[in-house]
């Protein structure tokens, strides 16, 4: 399916829960209501027309007024790609985990938590992954200040 058809299919199926789409962008995307992300991902994974079996990328972007979690999904069978975005508040952002849909999401979500502080509800192992467990702050947020030292060691 081409991006336009995917966008149309998603808004037909989920209506208001897909507030915005841009299928003509260089990287075609749809915004997803954060509370529906698991439903949308499950649908995209299991629907015979989409079969997005490969989660290529899951990561965050800090837009200063909000945090966006980006999902790039691809179908190995139909060879099409689509991007989903969830817009979250900067204060205590949380989202349900899609670990049950793609197993690789486990580590990607841990990284997103580590770097942006987005908590994934229902995640089996919500710990930091790249930074030490007692690290303070979320490094990829735009207002992050690098600490002078960590446990007495200069950073």
């Amino acid at each position: 399916m081409n991006p336009q058809e995917i966008a149309a299919l998603l808004s037909e199926k989920f209506g208001q829960r897909i507030p915005e789409s841009d299928a003509d962008a260089l990287n075609p995307w749809s915004a997803v209501d954060p509370s529906s992300i698991l439903d949308v991902c499950r649908f995209m994974r299991s629907d015979g027309r989409l079969e997005m079996d490969h989660l290529e990328l899951l990561g965050g972007v800090d837009y200063k007024d909000r945090i966006e979690v980006v999902y790039v999904v691809y179908s190995m069978k139909h060879h099409h790609r689509y991007t989903l975005k969830c817009r979250l508040p900067r204060e205590e952002p949380h989202l349900s985990t899609v670990e049950s849909v793609w197993k690789v999401a486990n580590w990607h979500e841990r990284e997103t938590y580590d770097m942006f502080g987005v908590l994934f509800d229902g995640h089996s192992d919500m710990r930091r992954i790249l930074c030490p467990d007692d690290w303070e702050g979320y490094p990829l947020r735009k207002d992050y200040k690098t600490p002078d030292s960590y446990r007495g060691m200069p950073v």
Binding site: A25, L26, N27, W29, D53, H54, L55, E56, L57, G59, G60, V61, D62, V70, V72, M76, H79, R81, T83, W102, K103, V104, N106, W107, E111, M115, R128, I129, L130, C131, P132, P139, L140, Y144
Partner: protein, 373 residues
């Protein structure tokens, strides 16, 4: 008769400094005698937060950072990045740049797979293949040094072109090397791939089923080792790969079930031969041209977002680039192939012998610089 072999569980830390973890990686093994009940990888020892650094440098300044992710295949790392920026800016490069990029990328793939095979043999306990592989890799590094001035971290691919053209006569030397090297692969097979002990240590060990592989986002030779015929160079061609003739080797399971360590290893060896074919074709297609023709004077992409992936020696490398129209990237997210394959490690190694954990890890061919970024 049912015998309960379960005993006390002992925690054994393998790494962070361990010869077979290929860098600083800690595996927390829960062992029940010789059996691994659970293996939890702890990564991040090499974390430099490259993605934060690049938000403070201009677009051209990002290239050396990408080199330092997968330092065994730096050419492929920077190629992915420059193609991403070129896609966002709509830059078209000429035929000479495309051919040279393919030659360098494929030579880099050969060099990287030689490291993979050599160190894998070393992990399993045979030292000679390691020396043979590094000897041939040395020639490729000499080509790179002659071209870019550096042996490992090149900064050779520029946005819109290349740092400079190859020296006159290098293409003949490359073909000479390929002529010498192709039969060497068969020698390596005789020495290592078909070795009885090597097969016993790798075949039937660490089976990764195709379903598991796709769900864990495993890509590249590791995915193809599980029998899934998927290669970005074929499915989403870039640089004109669609015009090149080459096969995509997959794991066939000659020695036991498909998706074992041996299959993953063998896919790399077969890919080396395919890369030789591509290099020959690319050299034949070289036309004169200016390699800096399309390099923009000022790199200022329009505001927008782009995702691009390329086939690296270790799998698909994806870059998500968000630009706000300024001179610096607003956000650059890297999808690292080693990161995703490492997330499958726990499931694959559960129930294996301790010695097989080394075999499984080596067959994944990870580079920690890219996992930790």
């Amino acid at each position: 008769m049912e015998v309960d072999y379960s005993g006390d569980i002992m925690t054994l830390n393998m790494g962070p400094q361990h010869p077979s973890t290929h860098g600083v990686l800690r595996l927390e093994l829960k062992t029940d005698g010789e059996i691994v009940a659970d293996a939890v990888p702890h990564i991040g020892y090499l974390h430099r937060c490259f993605e934060k650094h690049v938000e403070n440098v201009d677009y051209a300044g990002v290239v050396p950072f990408t080199d330092r992710m997968d330092y065994c295949a730096a050419m492929n790392m920077e190629l992915g990045y420059v193609l991403t920026v070129e896609k966002l800016m709509g830059i078209e490069v000429n035929n000479r740049v495309r051919c040279l990029r393919i030659i360098m990328a494929e030579l880099s793939r050969i060099a990287s797979h030689l490291i993979a095979a050599g160190t894998y043999g070393n992990d399993i306990g045979s030292f000679t293949p390691f020396l043979w592989c590094f000897r041939d890799r040395e020639t490729i590094l000499d080509f790179f040094e002659e071209t870019s001035g550096a042996r490992l971290l090149y900064n050779y691919n520029w946005i819109g072109g290349l740092m400079h053209d190859i020296k006159p006569g290098l293409e003949e030397k490359i073909i000479e090397f390929i002529d010498y090297f192709e039969p060497e692969v068969d020698n390596l097979n005789r020495l290592l791939s078909d070795n009885f002990i090597f097969i016993k240590r790798t075949a039937g060990v660490g089976i990764l089923s195709p379903e598991q592989a796709v769900s864990y986002g495993v890509t590249g030779p590791n995915l193809r080792g599980s029998g899934v015929k998927f290669d970005v160079r074929r499915e989403e061609p870039y640089l004109g790969y669609e015009d090149y003739e080459f096969d995509i080797p997959v794991g066939l399971g000659e020695h036991g079930p498909v998706g074992s360590c041996w299959d993953r290893y063998m896919v790399r060896i077969r890919e080396v031969k395919e890369s030789c074919k591509i290099v020959r074709q690319a050299v034949a297609r070289l036309t004169p041209g200016d390699v800096r023709e399309a390099v923009p004077k000022r790199i200022k992409p329009p505001a927008g977002e782009v995702y691009m992936r390329t086939e690296c020696p270790r799998g698909e490398l994806g870059y998500l680039l968000v630009s706000d129209g300024s001179l610096k990237p607003y956000r650059l997210k890297v999808k690292s192939p080693c990161f995703t394959v490492m997330s499958a490690f726990r499931e694959v190694s559960r129930g294996a012998m301790i010695a097989d954990v080394v075999s499984i890890l080596g067959s994944f061919d990870i580079v920690l610089g890219e996992i930790d970024r």
